[in-house]
Symmetry: C2
């Protein structure tokens, strides 16, 4: 503190002086030309007349506080934390609230420890390049209707939340358990309250008494609003509303309409799930701010959502503003419309310059716990047989650019005890349990996906990350299962005789390859799937990954069967004739 004050008072020279940028002030919303004096990784002063041991001319650029992604599952980009950190920094995101929900559902708390350790190894000077505020996943498993690789109950939550590793409790997706005031759920929520740690929410379409109850549970945020009106209701209930700019799901455009000058302080930005390709091409919070501005949100409000608001909501000390005493996490952009990132200073160190990262990436950290996580029982063609005697079946109808499905009733014939897909626009979907080799397999039909002549599969399958396979014949589906088992997880595709696999060697969720390679391989896999007929409006593999997510409406498949997430119960694929 002494050094900082001495530097602010000009008694000592600062380490670094950033000269002449248009500095955005998150508190006033005003952008003015100023110099930023930095010492020991912190801002000593924003003003004029300072000198630095090193000086960088920043004229012509806008200086923003390091951007904060208030809710992200890093695993969704399929990149290692090391590769993710580089891309995030390149795009001006210097802090994330990470919910390692995916990897913890596979590896347990060790998965979170791995993410944390991997991020902490990407350093610049004395500090990690990316500040990671880790949430303890609240729903492992997400529901009792599926088999995940781990279980974190009430007692474990109490123990884990007492650790400094965990900053808060991750998104509470089990809305019925909250509204039902179920014991174990309350035990988790109370543990967070007791530790003074924040709880994230996840409550699509919740309103009225349910929303009151959800707020009573102490849940602080939500990123699932489907409409602007829903945002306003949630804000009224005291929740921070996170505008989501994800790859699979986005509500930022629609929900921006709820923002006004009075309530903008209650909005945050987040990505939730972001592919490596989107991250590389469009960015992360830079893209979210840009989208908000394009939707008509004033730039100062939009930037504030990704900076000060996030810091306030999550109580991130030293983050979210460019002012004396704050961490010197500074993003320089060319303008306040496109938000092209030219330079990033992280805790006083030059981290990014002109699209190049300036920090070393060492070898990937790959502990045993995240390796060889695909354990399945011997599986054959007949395991994929699905009987629909009545000729009428429920199918998951996928909606373009959404993770929500709706139920469709389709007419299908049966042949030798198995549904016949020929002549229909249906595929078969199978979810194969992959943590304990239990042999569990859930089957269902998917309408309108378009795939023909083979099968595709992936071990990324929210939330339990069992193996999800979609195809039009049992043989190729069984082969996909076999390939994924051998690869230790990944994406696989079988097209008659052609077989392709892209391994996800980290928990079957992420690849230890470079970002470039991951983007190229996933793109290639998607293109190959596309050649097999998957319609343009669906991202072939990532859409698949959400078809096993039972907390999202309406119809999903888990390793235990077809699930109606509105009734919150299993249901038969076969629609039986109603008796008179």
């Amino acid at each position: 503190m002494k050094k900082l004050i001495d530097s602010a008072m000009k008694r000592i020279e600062c380490d670094l002086l950033l000269r002449g940028a248009m500095v955005f002030n998150a508190f006033t919303g005003i952008t003015e030309e100023k110099d930023i004096a930095v010492i020991s990784g912190k801002i000593a002063a924003v003003g004029k007349g300072y000198r630095g041991a090193r000086e960088i001319d920043c004229s012509g650029l806008y200086a923003l506080p390091g951007l904060i992604d208030s809710h992200i599952h890093v695993e969704s980009c399929m990149l290692s934390p090391e590769a993710f950190a580089s891309l995030a920094l390149l795009h001006g995101t210097t802090a994330i609230v990470a919910d390692p929900h995916e990897i913890v559902n596979v590896c347990g708390v060790q998965g979170a420890e791995y993410i944390s350790e991997a991020f902490s190894r990407v350093r610049l000077g004395e500090s990690p390049v990316l500040d990671v505020y880790m949430q303890l996943p609240s729903c492992v498993p997400a529901t009792p209707f599926e088999t995940s690789g781990a279980k974190i109950g009430g007692k474990e939550t109490e123990q884990e939340l007492a650790r400094p590793l965990f900053y808060g409790l991750g998104e509470m997706m089990n809305v019925p358990a909250v509204l039902g005031a179920e014991d174990e759920c309350l035990q988790k929520l109370s543990a967070a309250k007791c530790e003074g740690k924040i709880v994230d929410g996840h409550a699509p379409a919740l309103s009225g008494e349910g929303l009151n109850a959800y707020a009573c549970a102490g849940i602080a945020t939500d990123h699932e609003s489907l409409t602007a009106e829903e945002c306003t209701q949630k804000i009224a209930a005291g929740l921070y509303c996170q505008l989501r700019n994800g790859s699979s799901a986005r509500n930022i455009q629609e929900n921006c309409r709820a923002v006004n000058a009075y309530n903008y302080r209650r909005f945050l930005l987040c990505s939730d799930d972001r592919t490596a390709a989107d991250l590389s091409k469009y960015g992360l919070m830079d893209d979210a701010v840009k989208k908000a501005v394009a939707c008509g949100v004033p730039a100062n409000q939009a930037i504030c959502m990704a900076t000060l608001n996030a810091a306030e909501c999550y109580k991130l000390k030293g983050k979210g503003a460019l002012a004396a005493g704050y961490d010197a996490d500074i993003v320089f952009v060319t303008d306040l419309k496109e938000f092209c990132v030219k330079r990033v200073i992280k805790e006083g160190e030059l981290a990014v310059e002109d699209g190049k990262i300036l920090f070393p990436i060492k070898e990937r950290y790959l502990p045993d716990c995240v390796k060889s996580t695909v354990r399945i029982k011997e599986i054959g063609e007949k395991d994929f047989m699905l009987s629909v005697k009545s000729g009428k079946a429920r199918a998951l109808c996928v909606l373009p650019r959404s993770i929500v499905t709706k139920e469709a009733i389709v007419s299908v014939a049966e042949e030798d005890g198995d549904v016949c897909l020929t002549g229909t626009d249906c595929n078969k979907i199978a979810v194969v349990e992959r943590h304990f080799a239990s042999g569990n397999i859930g089957l269902g039909l998917v309408k309108g996906y378009g795939l023909r002549g083979g099968a595709i599969g992936i071990t990324v399958a929210h939330d339990s990350h069992n193996l999800v396979i979609l195809g039009d014949n049992n043989r190729d589906m069984a082969r996909v299962a076999q390939l994924l088992k051998e690869a230790g997880g990944g994406m696989a595709l079988v097209n008659g005789t052609r077989e392709e696999v892209f391994p996800l060697d980290i928990a079957g969720l992420m690849s230890s390859a470079s970002a470039r390679e991951v983007i190229a391989c996933t793109s290639r896999m998607n293109a190959l799937a596309r050649e097999m007929g998957v319609k343009e409006c669906y991202e072939p593999f990532m859409t698949l990954a959400f078809l096993a997510l039972p907390v999202i409406p309406a119809l999903k498949v888990t390793d235990k069967g077809l699930f109606d997430s509105e009734k919150f119960a299993f249901i038969n694929t076969e629609v039986k004739e109603e008796k008179a």
Copy 2:
């Protein structure tokens, strides 16, 4: 939590239903007709269709969150905490951030313990009627230039801040020590940082590098801005700006001009110092909100400053909003312009109805530590002699409705080694040390006060609360000292043969009498002083109380002598001829 959720979900009946008020939502700024369901002291729901074991019709009223005074020295009202709590509640203030700077300067930390204990005894159901967030005074003594009753150094600050009793560190008035990065000051600031506790500021006219340094020190608030421009600068530096609606000092009207739709979140309201009469007649935060609205601040922003903003700044859990899960501290007012308080609910209990308090006030708590605190050495007329041989003297020139003074050079004659006041518009002021009977006495001249034919004196004298006596002759001044000694502190007046004393039996700062009596007595004392010629633009006794406050510009008197607060050094009353 279970009960709250069950109640929100309408599975169980709530304790209390407040029907049909126009409910102000601090998050959205919108006021809508809703019911508020309360259980176990908390809001279970804001909505419709709820039922309560008890229901109160609130139609025609506006429901606001309990108002929060973000910075107050309770001692300044001269009321016991018990009497203060009643008046605060009557006026809709349900929480205060209290800085017991005055009593701690007299009694040490025991003074804060007394305040806390006295407040906690005023209860309604299971909870105190007033939530008191106690700050540990940071400047005891305020400066080395005066003698206070206690000293809280760096080490003591570390120890005390570790106690749950203290919520944060009180206003850091020693700006030079902060800017100078002085060891003991940094030790105090670091202790607060270490404990994660907030530090309040006090930095009139600070800007530029000094403001940067002050922010580097981790100081979170300021209530001393003299202009709207100064507010904007402090907000830009990351400080919360407290608009002050005190009795002696006010900046709310001027500084309201700095408020806009973007930055309103960074403003709070406070009273700082408030007399019992103002508190009773005009109110506390109700009056502050009313003033802000009268100055053109939109009502939703003004209310937010006294509710959500304060709760956010100080991280007051469960306070600042009317939403599910929040404490049921609810103020019902007749309109959003006059803010007349009709009803107050405190943690679910009806505390005030139609101007009447509904909670019991037990006997005053009066521990020994706050009694008999006036200890002075034998004092006589000759102790008040002030020599000004040159015929030219510096005088404190009091400014109307301000605690700032300016220096005036006056021509005065000397007679028998003492300044002769006859024919001048000057009074003599004496500050007599009263904690250790050291015999210290500081003398000075006050210009333009108007008092004639006697002396007045008071043991409330910021910040060290020595005895301040003002008069036009030494005999009456000495007699005032004697009277105050005998009374154990208070206000005293001698007018030739007439002698009047109003005792302040609590640390010489506050009276254990009823609010009504305190108001009547102080009013009477002021009227009597007025009869002695004190000009209309000065409040006779309270103006006096600030003349010994060396941290405020420009010229003040302490028990150690005449002090120039701009040069931060003692200075002679006598102006010597400059040598050629």
